[in-house]
Structure formats: C-alpha cells, structure tokens
C-alpha cells in the first residue's frame, strides 16, 4: 500500500512508563477525615453502590417529601375551599409540626441507615485498614457521625423547603404569606439540628455494639416503638409530676420537645404529652443528656480501637 501524495502519515507509539512514584501533595489527617465523611455520605445515600443500596434511603426521602407535599396541598385546599381566616382556625399542621409528624420516619431512616456506616467496616475488617492510616479511632467515629448527621440534616431540611414552597404557592396572597411567616425558615433549619444529632447518635451507638446492621436496626426501631405506647400509657395512668417525668422517657419525643422550644409552641405530636408542661430548660437539658451521654459511650467504644 502506498501513501497518497500530500497525506502525512502519522504513527502513534504507546509507551509503558512503568511505576511512577507519587510526588504530589499529602494532606494528612485532615484529608483522611474529610474522606471518611465523604464516603459516609455516599454510603448513606447509596452512591457508588448497586441499585439495592439506593432503594431504602431514597424511599424514606420520598416518603418525607410526600408528607410535605400532602401537608402543603391540604393547607392550599383549605385556604381555597373555606377561606384563609377559617383555614387558620383549623390550625392545620405546618412547619412546627412537620418533624413531630414525620419523627417515626426519621427514626426508622436513622435506624436502618446509620448502621451501614459502622457495621460493615467491622464485619468485613475495613476498619483495620482505616486505623492503619494517619487516622485515630476517634477521628473515624467522629467523621462517621458527622457524615450521617449531615445526611439527616439534609433529609430533614428538604421536605421543609418543599413544604415552604408549597405553602407559598397554595396561599392566595403568597407575598403576604412570606412576609408573615419568613421566621419559619430559621426555625425549621435550627430544629433539624437536634433531631439529626439525637437520631444519629443513638443509631450509631446501637450500631457500635453489633456487626450486623439488621440487629442494630431492629433493636432501635423496637426501642422507639416500645417506649412510645409504654410511657404514654403509664404517664396518663400515674399523672402529676411523676407522669411528666415518665413521659420524658418517650424516646421519640425527646428531639420534638426541642423543636417545640424553638418554634415556641407544642407540635401536634407533643401537645398532649405531660412532659410538654415542663420547663423548656428541662426539656433541652434532657435532650442534651440523651445526646451527649450516648455520644460519649460511642466515642469510648472507638477511642482505643486497634486493628
């Protein structure tokens, strides 16, 4: 075969340059922590994993968004059907009630999702590889906590923003609605933080004591499911101050009471709870006790972990 006149023949050569030593930057412990957080967020949401790993987290997110959409639609329909003044008299659930209404979904989401960050690492031995890097057990567990906390905060905020947009769109006078209710935004942003911190801590603490994700999830869901009717019934039976304190042990209500303190009104879930009558300081202190205590135990569990 002869080359055509005027056409330059190009020849490519593939070079095997062999092994190259790494000469780029090394960012040490800070990068290691960021990487564990990033990996934790991806794991929680199923990114970089098979389709099955995505089903559960996104199903929960879809349910939460669905609840927000329903709440917005009901509020919008009430405004149009019976008028804004009468609709306000109905005291329909809004931003202050959302976390209370959806609390069980948040707890189940945390119970199912958080163990995925700790259990497989111990069961499959990956934790040994982490602890051989420039990373301590404390770095690891704090980074995992932060990863799931960020996911929980985002998952809590998303439906609240959808509800906010839905309520504006459903209101006959959207500008007035924004001017009257803009304070709901910092409130629901702030109220998500104790909810996320509490659920993340309890779920990770449970996961720290088993290598099986299912055991952790079942234990935690069981804990919430059992304490709610038990404490509610017992508190109503006993009544008085003792009843109020028993009501405090309703684990699913603990962050909702803080939500009520932030919004300045009880939500539909805690309105009838005897504990709601206690001082805000007690309710907030109780929340800190139930969050910092388990966080300390979690930290102790991982602090001295060696491969």
């Amino acid at each position: 075969m002869t080359a055509q006149p005027g056409v330059t023949k190009r020849e490519g050569t593939v070079f095997d340059i062999g092994y190259q030593n790494y000469t780029g930057p090394r960012e040490g412990r800070g990068r290691a922590r960021i990487s564990i957080v990033k990996n934790g967020v991806r794991t929680s949401l199923g990114f970089g994993r098979g389709a099955l790993a995505k089903v559960l987290p996104w199903l929960f997110i879809a349910v939460l968004v669905f609840i927000a959409i329903i709440m917005a639609l009901v509020a919008g329909a009430a405004d149009r059907l019976i008028g804004p003044e009468d609709a306000e008299q109905l005291n329909l659930p809004s931003h202050s009630d959302f976390y209370g209404i959806a609390s069980i979904i948040f707890f189940v989401f945390a119970a199912v999702g958080a163990p995925e960050l700790l259990c497989p690492d111990r069961r499959e031995g990956v934790i040994n590889l982490y602890l051989l890097r420039p990373l301590t057990g404390s770095d690891y567990v704090f980074s995992r906590w932060l990863a799931f906390f960020l996911v929980m905060v985002a998952v809590a905020w998303l439906p609240q923003f959808i509800l906010w947009i839905g309520l504006i769109m459903g209101d006959p006078q959207p500008v007035e609605y924004v001017l009257d209710n803009w304070l709901d935004i910092p409130k629901f942003l702030a109220a998500a933080i104790p909810l996320a911190a509490y659920t993340t801590t309890l779920a990770l603490l449970t996961a720290a004591f088993t290598t099986r994700r299912a055991y952790a999830a079942v234990f935690l869901v069981g804990l919430f499911v059992i304490t709610t009717p038990f404490t509610t019934g017992l508190a109503a039976e006993i009544g008085g101050t003792a009843g109020q304190w028993i009501s405090m042990f309703n684990l699913s209500n603990i962050p909702v009471h803080v939500n009520d303190v932030i919004f300045g009104e009880p939500s539909v879930i805690t309105r009838d709870a005897p504990a709601a009558e206690l001082s805000s300081w007690i309710l907030v202190g109780w929340f800190f006790l139930w969050t910092l205590g388990p966080a300390g135990v979690l930290w102790m569990r991982y602090r001295r972990l060696t491969p």
Binding site: Y19, P25, R31, G48, P120, L129, L132, T306
Partner: protein, 308 residues
Amino acid sequence: MKVLLTAVNLTKRYKDVVALDDVSFDISDGITGILGENGAGKSTAIKLFLGLIPSTSGSAKALGQDAHESIAVRAKLGYMPEHDCLPSNITAAEFLGHMAEVSGLPPPHARTRAADTLRHVGLFEERYRSMGGYSTGMKQRVKLAQALVHDPSFVFLDEPTAGLDPGGREDMLELVSKTHREFGISILFSSHLMADVERACDRIIVLQSGRLVESGEVTHFTKETETVFIEVDGNRERLVAALEQRGVAVTTDGHGLYIEGPDETVYDQVRDALVEAEAPLRRMAPRRRALAELFQHEGEDFASELSP
C-alpha cells in the same frame, strides 16, 4: 544501605505474657522476611512499628519516627493484612481511590493513583467490578494494591500468599519482588512459609518466643552444601542405575538426584552415566540449604510449625 525500621531494646508485655523481650534490630531497604511460629512476636512487632500499640519499654521507629507518638508517619507506611479487609459491595477503583484519600492524597491524585496501582497489580481490566465477586487471588492483589496506593516508603505484608493456589502464590511472590525492584518500596514480609521467604526476601529476622534468634542475609542461611544436585528431564531411574553400577552413592527425591561430598572423579562418572542412560541433563549444581532445613536442625517444633 538506608535503615528504615529500628527496634532498640523493644519490649512489649500484655499483663503476664511477654510478646517481645528486649529485642534490637534494624531493617534496611530491600525485602526483609520476618519468621516465627504463632505467638513469636511478629504481629506485635508490626503493630509497634505502625504505632498501633505502645511499647512497654524500648523504642520502635519507622522512617525515623515513633508512629505511636506521631501518626503522620503512617502516611508513608503501607500494610497488607492477612485477614479479609475488603468491602464486598463496591468496586476496586472506588475502594482504592478512597483508601488513597484516607492516606492523605487529594481526590484527583487519589483517583489517578488508584487506577495506576490496579494496573501494576494486574487488575486494571477488573477495576469497575464489585469486589464481592473477586477470586481469592484477586482479593490478595487488591489488598496489596491498597497498601501501595499512596506510594509508601515501606510496606508491611502479613502472609501475602495465604489461601493462594501454587500459581497464584508464584504470581504474588513475583509481585512482591517487583514492588521492591521496580517500585522502589521496601518490604517487611511476615510469613510462616519458609519457601516464600527464601524466594522473595534478601534478609530474614527470626523471632522465637518474643526473642530474636537469627538475623542476616538469606544467602548466608542458604549457602552451598557439599552435595551435588542433578535434575534430568527423563530416564531418571536408568541414570540412578548407571551411577550405582559405577559405585556412586545416590539419593533421590521428587525433584532429582543427590550425590553427597563428591570428589573430582565423580563428575566424569556422572557424565558417562548420563550418556549411558540417555538422560537429558537439565541442571547440575551444588545444592543450597533451604531455610526450613536450618531451623529443623535448631528446633524440631519450630521447623514443623514453619514448614509449608
């Protein structure tokens, strides 16, 4: 030679058990084997160098630093554990990229290093497959790759040939040699298989009950003996008969023939016997002692524990 690991009067006690007892040694660049029966102190020594546990007394320094006091040095160390340590539901590329980041590399560099390292261990084509479906040999390669992905100066390999078939074992040993020869990474090779250590290592350290009992060049322990080893491609029985007919005492095993302490005339007789037996000669050389034999002489229990 540059000294990379230094143990000085290193002692580690777990309550009443002495895991390492006043041990001192240096490990230079190259591939060093660490041998010893279960409980000899191999894993304890590795953990001390990695700074995972504090020493009771003495010091263990890696790359000039005590990793227990400054964990930053671990960014330049790698470790391949013996036991399973791979997540089953993610790809090798994603896992290695993450491990590189955890070692301190920025994400774009980490991704590049992950792909390069997987190419060097022979898993480039399989890098986007979930590791749950990998064979034992492939998993061992990923374990090695994660120890190399951040380009450490020194790597600890704990039983890298565990669970591999003979072919996979050969490949792994070749990869270990290549890691030092081509990548310039020094290695501490912990194994109970003397043949593997003999094949891959330049030097060995032998621990027994927490004490250092031997150390030195592998060639020092496997020096030539007075025995001549002969390997043929066929007609071995005829060759044995031809040699015995000439009055030469021969012993055989699965590999070949051995003639103890031959004098000069034996070589002529071997030549004639080979011709007579029509046995194609593959190899004739002074036999080197195997590490296993050395320790068989020094302690039967130790040797039986260490033999493959």
